[in-house]
Symmetry: C2
DNA sequence: TGAATATGATCTGTAAACGGATCATCGCTA
DNA sequence: TAGCGATGATCCGTTTACAGATCATATTCA
């Protein structure tokens, strides 16, 4: 009774940390130009399962997470909490050089932008 | 037959990447001065289960891995493979700072060193 | 229009990560 | 020697990440 008081994790109770990891995987997958099915095959799981993981619905096993990360060009690393700011700065910095300040649009007239 | 040719993952076939993660967790746990039981409680699992994970025998769920990492002062991060050398350099550097170039020995005379 | 592709979603079974209990072994200290 | 804490290890039952199949919903393109 009183399911609100239960400590049990329901299927609806999605961990935000899992969703965050799923979002990072999804972004890396799109950056790599891969479909869900391709990554699922590379990681040795099925597409429905990979979808659940990308959505943060399911908590993949560590071995599966390693395979997925590598398939999309990422690596799972355990970082001391004290070094997280430095690592974040490193990631942020490389993100900044990745993209120029404004992106060249392939198919719009010269007066289409920034109206 | 020819078990070497089989693609199947047996229970005996322990993934070295899992063992590596387990070793990192064990080292961080000892650095934090925590017992297996303490970390297991902090992570919300039982001690036998945590032992399996630390040994690399079992592949913890991602949610469990996150809880364990935080319990021992670590964080799970997804790093682009291209940035791994930089991150490794960062970890190596802070490891070097942790320990002075030579360790003061508690019980040796002044003429004992660098003979 | 329709075909092809990518993604969302649900179903039935199975394998493995979980809880909980139990016992053994090792190292340390009184 | 006995006692205690930490770790190694195995048992059974439950939960859930998995496989595999199926159907629906865009979206794109001929």
């Amino acid at each position: 009774m009183n399911p609100e008081l239960s400590l049990r994790r329901n299927a609806v109770d999605h961990d935000p940390a899992l969703q965050d990891i799923g979002a990072q995987i999804a972004q890396a997958r799109r950056s790599a130009g891969l479909t869900q099915e391709q990554v699922a095959n590379l990681a040795g799981i099925t597409r429905p399962r990979f979808r659940d993981i990308e959505k943060g619905i399911a908590a993949a096993r560590t071995s599966t997470l390693l395979n997925i990360a590598r398939a999309v060009g990422l690596e799972v690393m355990l970082i001391p909490q004290s070094l997280m700011p430095a690592v974040r700065a490193l990631l942020q910095q490389s993100d900044d050089d990745d993209q120029p300040a404004f992106v060249a649009e392939p198919d719009e007239g010269p007066d289409a932008g920034m109206g």
